[in-house]
């Protein structure tokens, strides 16, 4: 003899189905509540998002913007092998420094040991993806040992950060190791 139960044999199944229906209806209600009214007018996006993106502050600029106000650096930078390197790659976004060509803050400049870290971002031999023929790859401190300088040396003690071979070539010329060359920027070689 089966005992009497308070619930019907299928009561739990009906409840589960009802819960699923309620969840589904709740989902549809949430969509109606949270989806912005201009969503889907032209595609799977909010129309106002285009306006938002247009109004977003442009943080990055080209080298041209930077060099416009820095003629001295321009001469050196464009004359060296780093001429294709973006200013922002080392200094950070233009927007942190100038807005509408007006200076708002000092540009971050790396100094001391930070210079070494910065240089090794590109020149570290551990990054095996760099072809040797297009970029000088070095390992520290072997490079310093090979050049017979102290291993505590920072990169910019020998290399000008904007034209890395500038001082090296000038020093070699001064010691007669290479001949004087004509031209405005002889260290370009």
């Amino acid at each position: 003899m089966e005992p009497e139960y308070k619930s019907k044999y299928n009561a739990h199944l009906i409840k589960v189905i009802l819960v699923l229906i309620v969840l589904g209806v709740g989902g549809i209600a949430a969509q109606a509540l949270f989806i912005p009214s201009d969503f889907g007018e032209y595609g799977h996006y909010r129309t106002g998002a285009v306006e938002d993106e247009i109004n977003r502050l442009v943080r990055n600029q080209t080298n041209e913007s930077c060099l416009k106000c820095h003629p001295f650096i321009k001469k050196i930078h464009l004359g060296g092998v780093h001429k294709t390197v973006s200013c922002e790659f080392c200094h950070g976004p233009n927007a942190d420094h100038a807005v509408d060509e007006k200076k708002i803050a000092d540009m971050p400049v790396k100094r001391g040991k930070d210079i070494k870290t910065l240089c090794l971002r590109c020149h570290n031999k551990i990054i095996r993806a760099r072809p040797e023929e297009s970029i000088k790859m070095i390992a520290m401190p072997q490079h310093l040992e090979e050049k017979r300088v102290q291993t505590t040396h920072i990169c910019n003690q020998c290399h000008h950060v904007h034209a890395p071979m500038k001082w090296v070539i000038e020093a070699k010329k001064a010691h007669g190791l290479i001949k004087e060359k004509e031209g405005l920027f002889p260290w370009m070689n």
């Binding site: 044999y9 009561a11 199944l13 409840k15 989806i35 551990i126 990054i127 993806a129």
Partner: protein, 394 residues
């Protein structure tokens, strides 16, 4: 001409972003790992509930709860990886059927509902009985979990049985889709020559089955080292070996296909497999954690050893296979990003211990499912003394 040469040099030496930073790191290694364990554990349960492999009866319920515990944490690595995790729910507000990434949200949710319902229906009779014995807060908990019904008569249980059969039957393809999808998301990245292969979903699915079964064996033997059912362990080992044969063969076939086809990407893949992945792939994943457990499982499947040997070596082989699958995830996810986009060479990756996506958060995320499993064990009894006698325990 000098200008052309300079331009070419500048392009070849361009600093691509992946040379500095592996964007999909440890969290994206864990995501397919945890999801795979979920899918695999569900398949163990289905082998009993749908295919009526009687030897797996002792772990049929446990494996469902095991799957639920890991399912509850499957999204954590993704949420931790995201810059704006709060936007995750947008995929439900504005569903985009053509988004492969959003696909996970839909599959995961649907599968989660099926899994929870299946557990509730399987446990309903037990929960109703526990509700009668419980008092206070737990009585309310059991009342909700038993779906507000006290009817455990023959007719109600027969209905439950039908529902369970239906849920288990749709649960199998859903579990397969859940993990096949994870393979799809990698296989669909056509810019990555390591990932972009139609074999990827198959390999991910098979490794999911392998990791799920291995995870069940390991935890079952940790919880019940002596009392674990030997015949059940033997059956699990045979299924593990079977799935692992397929998994391992497909893994080797994939790299064999790459090598034989020798497309223009092969030089980059070759450099990858014999460069930064040499140890983690050939030495660890293939040689140590695939070949050794393969032969252990073969021995345990073909020769009848005594129970102690079966449990001991079954545990060792399963633990090794769990690690093999983790290594496979690592080698696929991280390995795929170690090739420079320039295809000029490879880069290296070393995970940090303390970082947002570092080793410590990874450990925490892997321990969380075990804590959830422990909490679940306080509500849902994994093993019932009367389970073997009860005809309705399915």
């Amino acid at each position: 001409m000098q200008g052309v040469a300079e331009t070419a040099t500048a392009v070849a030496g361009y600093a691509f972003p992946n040379d500095f930073h592996v964007h999909w790191s440890l969290m994206i290694v864990l995501y397919p790992y945890i999801t795979g364990i979920v899918a695999g554990a569900f398949i163990v349960s289905s082998l009993y509930h749908v295919f009526h492999i009687q030897a797996l009866k002792p772990i049929a319920r446990f494996s469902l709860l095991f799957a639920l515990a890991f399912l509850a944490c499957a999204t954590l690595p993704l949420l931790n990886h995201l810059g704006h995790p709060e936007r995750a729910m947008n995929m439900f507000l504005t569903p985009n059927p053509s988004s492969a990434m959003a696909g996970f949200g839909y599959i995961y949710t649907a599968y989660g509902i099926v899994l929870i319902l299946e557990i509730l229906f399987i446990y309903r009779e037990t929960l109703v009985k526990l509700k009668d014995q419980a008092s206070g807060f737990m009585k309310n908990v059991y009342g909700v979990l038993s779906m507000g019904s006290d009817n455990i008569g023959a007719r109600a249980l027969a209905l439950d049985h039908k529902v369970i059969g239906f849920l288990a039957a749709i649960g199998i393809p859903m579990a397969c889709i859940l993990h096949g999808y994870v393979g799809f998301i990698f296989g669909g990245v056509k810019a990555n020559s390591l990932w972009a292969t139609p074999l990827m979903p198959v390999i991910f699915l098979l490794s999911a089955c392998v990791s799920g079964i291995a995870g069940i064996i390991v935890t079952y033997l940790i919880i019940k080292p002596r009392a674990a059912d030997s015949e059940c362990i033997r059956s699990c080992i045979k299924f593990l070996w079977g799935f692992f044969i397929l998994d391992f063969v497909f893994e080797m076939l994939e790299i064999g296909m790459h090598a034989y086809l020798s497309t223009h990407h092969w030089h980059a893949l070759h450099e990858l497999f014999w460069g930064p992945l040499y140890q983690s792939y050939w030495i660890y994943q293939v040689l140590i954690f695939s070949v050794i457990p393969f032969f252990i499982l073969m021995g345990l499947s073909l020769i009848r050893f005594n129970d102690f040997i079966v449990k001991l070596f079954g545990f060792i082989a399963s633990a090794m296979i769990l690690f093999q699958v983790l290594l496979m995830r690592w080698n696929v996810v991280i390995g795929g990003q170690l090739m420079s986009k320039s295809e000029q060479g490879v880069v290296s990756f070393h995970p940090e211990w303390i970082a947002k996506e570092g080793i410590i958060p990874a450990i925490i995320i892997m321990v969380l499912p075990l804590i959830i499993l422990f909490i679940l064990s306080k509500v849902f009894p994994f093993w019932l003394p009367a389970e073997s006698e009860s005809s309705s325990s399915k």
